[in-house]
Symmetry: C2
Subunit: 365 residues, 2 copies
């Protein structure tokens, strides 16, 4: 067993999509462990608290007119002219990886155990050691076309601070209504329509003392985690799918074990969309989006019900032909119409299928 480290950097992340085409950032063997850093794609809602002086975060979010460290953001087109930017924000999550698992092949199951999850403290001297996150009540939220107060509609960012001194919880620091933001390439973003656009705080009005007596229980977890699908080269990170992805279940935190079907050679595991807390439904569009680091263990399972079914078929045929003296054709007809094959278990590493036939089909002779 080897323990790997995968820090965030422009070459160790991909933004907004799962892909079988991205070169692995790390390759490991079944049984290995890895400490993997992840960044929230909402960090630029408060650059000072969540990016400034953090070398890893700064390297990934770096975007000036001259240089954009991670150009493609989303599964959309990468040749302009752009409406929103390269990749067009068709998928938004910053994902670390992919991690290739040696010998993983389509049909295998990759078990991913989350051993630990830790928040990523601010590196800015003003906030050093403290942890922050952002909640966006966004245009894709369930509430957006169903608002009561004016102005309608509106997007609202709420910055939270995470307290991990005891049982971890979060408190709101301030909020602001989103205003049009112009990115370094000159594209104006009237709504939150492209990830990683830095919010100019001179253009928003902060409201302090919000949710003043509310403690939100922390539920550190990864909103998006999974393997590369086989069907397409670039797959938006937004809809969850059969290889996992943006499941957004707060139970996918420390202690969780996820089982993903391997769709491409190597599996190509990626993780991101880190959350400090989320309720079931993620109603407003996001969780408390905060950068997290996790310790993971990877176990490759080659088990398959296919071989177990083949084995059970042959054994029941032998039983019927030897004990009950049936011909092969009699045995097969009887198995098809009267024997029940069931799944014994799919949790004990060596999966099982059992074939059964009731004794009372054989009349006394």
């Amino acid at each position: 067993m080897k323990h790997h480290l995968l820090p965030v950097s422009p070459t160790n992340v991909h933004w907004g999509y799962f892909s079988k085409k991205v070169a692995p950032a790390l390759t490991l063997k079944s049984g290995d462990r890895a400490t993997i850093e992840t960044l929230t794609h909402h960090a630029n809602d408060d650059y000072e608290r969540m990016i400034a002086n953090d070398p890893g975060a700064e390297s990934v979010f770096h975007w000036t007119r001259e240089h954009k460290a991670v150009v493609r953001r989303g599964a959309g087109p990468t040749e302009g002219p752009f409406l929103r930017g390269s990749g067009e924000g068709v998928g938004v999550h910053l994902l670390t990886g992919p991690v290739a698992i040696e010998n993983a092949e389509p049909g295998d199951i990759l078990e991913v155990r989350i051993l630990d999850v830790r928040p990523r403290p601010s590196c800015n001297a003003c906030h050093a050691g403290r942890c922050f996150g952002s909640n966006a009540a966004a245009s894709w939220g369930f509430h957006y076309h169903d608002l009561i107060e004016e102005p309608k509609p509106r997007e609202v960012i709420t910055i939270f601070e995470l307290d991990t001194s005891g049982e971890p919880f979060a408190r709101a620091v301030y909020n602001y209504v989103w205003t049009p933001q112009t990115d370094p390439d000159g594209i104006v973003h009237p709504t939150i329509d492209y990830p990683g656009v830095r919010v100019d705080h001179s253009l928003v009005r902060k409201r302090e003392n919000i949710l003043p007596n509310v403690k939100v229980p922390a539920r550190l977890h990864f909103g998006t985690m999974g393997l590369a699908p086989a069907e397409s080269d670039f797959v938006s990170s937004i809809p969850p799918g059969y290889t996992g992805g943006n499941i957004d279940d707060w139970r996918i935190g420390k202690g969780a074990r996820m089982y993903y079907p391997v769709a491409v050679s190597g599996g190509f595991f990626s993780v991101g969309d880190p959350h400090a807390a989320q309720g079931d439904s993620e109603l407003g569009g996001t969780a408390i989006e905060t950068s997290l680091t996790g310790d993971f263990e990877f176990i490759l399972n080659h088990s398959s019900l296919d071989k177990a079914m083949r084995d059970a078929f042959r054994k029941l045929r032998r039983f019927l032909m030897t004990v009950h003296h049936l011909s092969e054709d009699e045995a097969i007809a009887l198995m098809s119409v009267a024997a029940d094959f069931g799944v014994t278990q799919v949790v004990d590493a060596n999966w099982g299928v059992h074939g059964s036939i009731r004794k009372n089909v054989f009349m006394c002779t």
Copy 2:
């Protein structure tokens, strides 16, 4: 409530596919009942026992060089030259219907209750009143490339008789190895590759006294039942899908209630592939395929979690804004990160979603 009757006839069946394009054989309202006849597509394995002198079965299976009562069999091409025949046997099940349900629209759920299932007795004077079925150990069976005895490979038909005088059961009558059969259009079928080809019993060798002391418990059920998918005009009846179809679970018999998502206006329910008995796995490729008649009740549910979720969101927002004096933006941020929305029930006709938030998020002030 009205009780309808849908007998088999060339215009009341379609063969080998689900389709939103087939004109409804019957239109009914939610709450109505219908007695629906179904025919096994394997009846021609023993024409004398399962078709002869049965006006409904004869009308559907009628196929001479001059006239083929049901031309299309399968979702494949209907213009030749054919390898196997019109529709090419891409889908094989004789289905009765479609039954259109008034006001059924995509997003609704159609509940189908199976009130009763009865076998269809032979009309042939030699076998009058007795019920028969056919089991094919076929080329698509799990055993086919894994046989022990010679000749390999082979397909085997076993004819069963169903005894319903007491607790119903089936006994084998005879079996034979499939030999090449020539259909009325001159196409030779070396294997069972097209449905409804009449087996010339002068070309097969019957073996009597098989499975002599075996009673197979009857499990009358419909192997294939469901609604028309939206995605395509003609969908093979073989793979089960999200609107039901060829599920082949022997539990779908008397007393079962199935819930199908409506994909096209009217729903377009069809049923067939009747089985006298099947084991879990349907190992050899088929069940005891036998014609059955069922009594069905149709209940259209417009319930949706969507509206329940909308309702729960508004109520929890009101609670937070009135009882806890939060602004709308505070309430929405808090709901997104700390409130859990769950499915209350999806079984009591009026489906429910509940939103909950822990009291201890509100600290004493």
